[in-house]
């Protein structure tokens, strides 16, 4: 009787028009057969148990995988098994056990970025934001070009922690922009944080920095006008609204530009600008 996992495996192999034997990689059965032979020949080789454990884990046979990893721990340096055990427990949903294994890896290999990422995600998922932030920070330090979204995610955690967290979130976003360049995704979130804490002049200054990457577009001019209005600098805002209005008159009509034009008219009509 096939295990549930194997039934799923066979079912989807059929659906995809594949069978284990027809896959472009050696099938798991072939892989396991080979490893079984090798382990029979070399019963004390740690590496073979690790490989078979990975093969079992990938095939959904978690108990045999766990048995092999536990055996591997006794045959050599447990550190070599720790990451894979961490991943296995993470997949099983046993986050605290998984976290312990990533701790083991990182205690010996503090620059193991994959462990950092897993441990950061575990910490975030259980609501341990300080630990998650610490690990993400370490992760950023190891990566030349982390995805901009991860900076935003980490900044969001920082901002939620307490009032001082917003400053720390802004500092992290600025760090990210030093690393990644003046990318609008990070600066936009920074502008929102500045607005949230009432620092409208700070928001304006950040919007000003964006002109180098966004250009002097109608959208940028409109946003600058909005921020200046919030900062109590309405006369300055009107200049930007006028600029946006003039630009839009010469650009192809898209729904976004049509809507922007409507919004500009609302702002400009009261100050006597002919729209």
């Amino acid at each position: 009787m096939l295990s549930l996992a194997k039934r799923w495996f066979v079912l989807f192999s059929v659906l995809l028009g594949l069978s284990p034997a027809a896959g472009a990689h050696p099938s798991h059965e072939q892989q396991l057969s080979l490893l079984n032979l090798q382990i029979a020949q070399f019963p004390d080789q740690q590496r073979l148990y690790i490989e078979r454990g990975i093969a079992y884990s990938s095939d959904g046979e978690l108990d045999p995988a766990l048995a092999d990893f536990n055996r591997a721990e006794t045959l050599g340096d447990p550190l070599l098994v720790a990451f894979d055990l961490g991943v296995l427990y993470y997949r099983m949903g046993e986050l605290q056990r998984a976290r312990r294994y990533f701790d083991t890896t990182l205690n010996q290999l503090p620059d193991h970025s994959r462990s950092l990422e897993y441990r950061a995600r575990i910490a975030r998922d259980v609501g341990d934001y300080p630990a998650a932030v610490a690990d993400f920070r370490a992760f950023f330090a190891l990566r030349e070009r982390p995805n901009p979204g991860h900076y935003i995610s980490t900044a969001a955690m920082l901002a939620e922690m307490d009032l001082e967290g917003v400053d720390a979130a802004l500092a992290l976003l600025d760090e990210g922009m030093v690393k990644l360049g003046q990318v609008p995704q990070l600066q936009r979130y920074a502008i929102e944080l500045e607005r949230w804490q009432g620092n409208y002049d700070g928001a304006v200054e950040r919007q000003q920095r964006l002109v180098a990457v966004l250009g002097d577009s109608p959208q940028w001019n409109w946003q600058m006008g909005q921020l200046l209005t919030e900062a109590g600098r309405k006369p300055q805002a009107v200049k930007y609204y006028r600029s946006a209005h003039q630009q839009l008159r010469n650009l192809r009509r898209t729904p976004a530009r049509i809507e922007l034009m409507q919004q500009l008219k609302v702002q400009l009509k009261p100050v006597g600008v002919d729209t």
């Binding site: 996992a5 360049g181 990457v213």
Partner: protein, 493 residues
């Protein structure tokens, strides 16, 4: 900058380097060296990157094939590549080059810089060749036998035949829609499926790719906590460092795609800086193109939201005549194993990016004037009507609400008298786009469930897409392996 001034500055720089005891790039008087791979990146109006793997450490560039006179030293970059950034070029100019520093360029080794931003080339149009899921030259079965021998090459020959028959101008941009190298997007897969196959394309036009599921190597699908299926092309990770080639005897050091390609992150080729090579944009003449990451970035909620925000900023700053977006996972498809109606549930989330792209990005394309969207993933050619605001499944498609109509109130075909207008007649705005699945450039699968309701045509035929964009008209053609045009559409502006 004039050619003479460039020559003077380059020569002075070369002399300076020589006097500082650096490797000899004092002149173009070395021998030509054949690299293992050679390709162009980020060719713009005034700049180009020549990238290769091999022993050479310098290139020579010039406007005369037998008198190359601009030596440029290269630097080593990821994946053991050499990269030479050539700057100060003139727009719309043919440059020849040698790898190794010879004064003569090998036959057929040249590139043409882009026209000035906003203008069209001397030919009158920007030409893009688009392939999807073309990487089957390295797709082998368990016995090591090629599963689709010669099919990607046949597609390329079909395109070249068409070009020859129509006297078309050389290619400006070579676009790859993902799954560029089966089975796992490894460096060796890329060598066989891309660099060996497209050598005579890649040495003349910059390649602009996007990330497919097979770029992310080997993965495992889970039902809850239970792994149920492992293979190439099924990774659901959002982190490129999770790449695995499935071979436990090799050490994986990150996504090969990111090591191989040098893509803009700071707006170097036009467009808005993204900070990441996973998604980017470029301007080429009167065309703005955006490459989104539906494989990695789209799978993380925060990263996906950040990419969407960047896209809005990028499109808000765009004023090019034409806007084209590419990403791997099609929002509308009835292709085998990649039905977009089942994306949320199929194979425990493997294809959920199809849902995300439809649910969250379609409205951005509509709002900000995108004209064409190209995807791969399904191994078929499927071309939509001129659509707007269709974010639901195929059974929610209502031509009256979601498509440009002809005089009979039926969805217009985009051909002949039913050509599309960039500013839609009905709405008076640039609010519609054509969505095309062009994933049959390496293999073609039949449609098990029939054609998508929003599609004008669906073909289980090998082929590729050729887009020509002039100042007033854009035509996109699907060309089969015989060089025959099986479908086309025209948008006027």
């Amino acid at each position: 900058m004039s050619h003479r001034r460039l020559l003077l500055i380059s020569s002075l720089l070369a002399l300076l380097v020589a006097c500082n005891g650096s490797d000899d790039i004092a002149g173009c008087n070395n021998i030509n060296m054949m690299p293992e791979r050679l390709f162009l990146q980020q060719v713009s109006a005034d700049r180009a990157i020549i990238k290769w793997r091999g022993a050479a450490e310098v290139v020579c560039v010039g406007t005369s094939p037998d008198a190359l006179d601009i030596p440029v030293a290269a630097t080593v970059t990821e994946g053991n590549h050499w990269e030479a950034e050539v700057i100060g070029l003139e727009a719309q100019t043919l440059y020849y080059y040698s790898v190794g520093g010879a004064a003569s360029a090998p036959a057929g080794q040249w590139f043409r810089t882009a026209p000035e931003p906003g203008s069209v080339p001397a030919s009158g149009k920007v030409t893009l060749w688009i392939v999807g899921d073309s990487g089957t030259a390295t797709e082998l079965d368990s016995e090591g036998v090629p599963e689709h021998p010669g099919e990607a090459e046949a597609v390329m020959q079909g395109f070249l035949s068409y070009q020859q028959a129509t006297g078309a101008q050389p290619l400006d941009l070579f676009v790859m829609l993902g799954d560029n190298a089966y089975e796992v997007g490894s460096d060796s897969n890329y060598q066989g499926a891309v660099f060996d196959l497209y050598a005579e394309i890649l040495n003349k036009a910059a390649v602009w790719p996007t990330i497919g599921n097979h770029e992310m190597g080997y993965g495992t699908l889970y039902n809850g906590d239970t792994p149920v299926y492992s293979s190439g092309g099924v990774s659901t990770a959002s982190d490129p460092a999770s790449y695995s080639d499935g071979d436990d005897t090799t050490v994986d050091s990150g996504l090969p795609y990111l090591d191989i390609f040098s893509l803009p992150t700071q707006g170097e080729a036009g467009g808005v800086a993204s900070g990441t090579e996973q998604y980017y944009s470029l301007d080429y003449g009167n065309v703005h193109m955006v490459s989104l990451d539906s494989q990695l970035t789209a799978r993380d909620d925060t990263a996906r939201a950040a990419m969407k925000q960047w896209l809005i900023d990028d499109l808000s700053s765009n004023s090019a005549d034409w806007t084209i977006v590419i990403f791997h996972h099609p929002p509308y498809s009835k292709g085998k194993n990649h039905d977009s109606d089942e994306a949320e549930t199929f194979l425990f989330g493997l294809d959920i990016p199809q849902f995300y792209m439809r649910d969250e990005f379609i409205t951005v394309f509509d709002e900000y004037g995108v004209d064409l969207v190209y995807s791969g993933h399904a191994h078929s050619y499927e071309r939509s009507y001129y659509l707007t605001n269709h974010t639901g499944k195929s059974d929610t498609f209502d031509p009256l609400q979601h498509a440009e109509l002809n005089s009979s109130n039926q969805p217009a075909s985009g051909q002949g008298g039913e050509s599309y207008s960039q500013i839609s007649v009905g709405s008076g705005a640039d609010d519609k786009a054509v969505y095309t699945v062009a994933g049959s450039s390496g293999k073609a699968d039949a449609f098990p469930g029939g054609q998508h309701a929003a599609h004008y045509i669906g073909l289980a035929v090998l082929g590729s897409v050729l887009v020509d964009a002039s100042a007033s008209e854009l035509t996109a053609r699907f060309i089969d392996v015989n060089g025959d045009v099986l479908d086309y559409l025209t948008i006027n502006r």
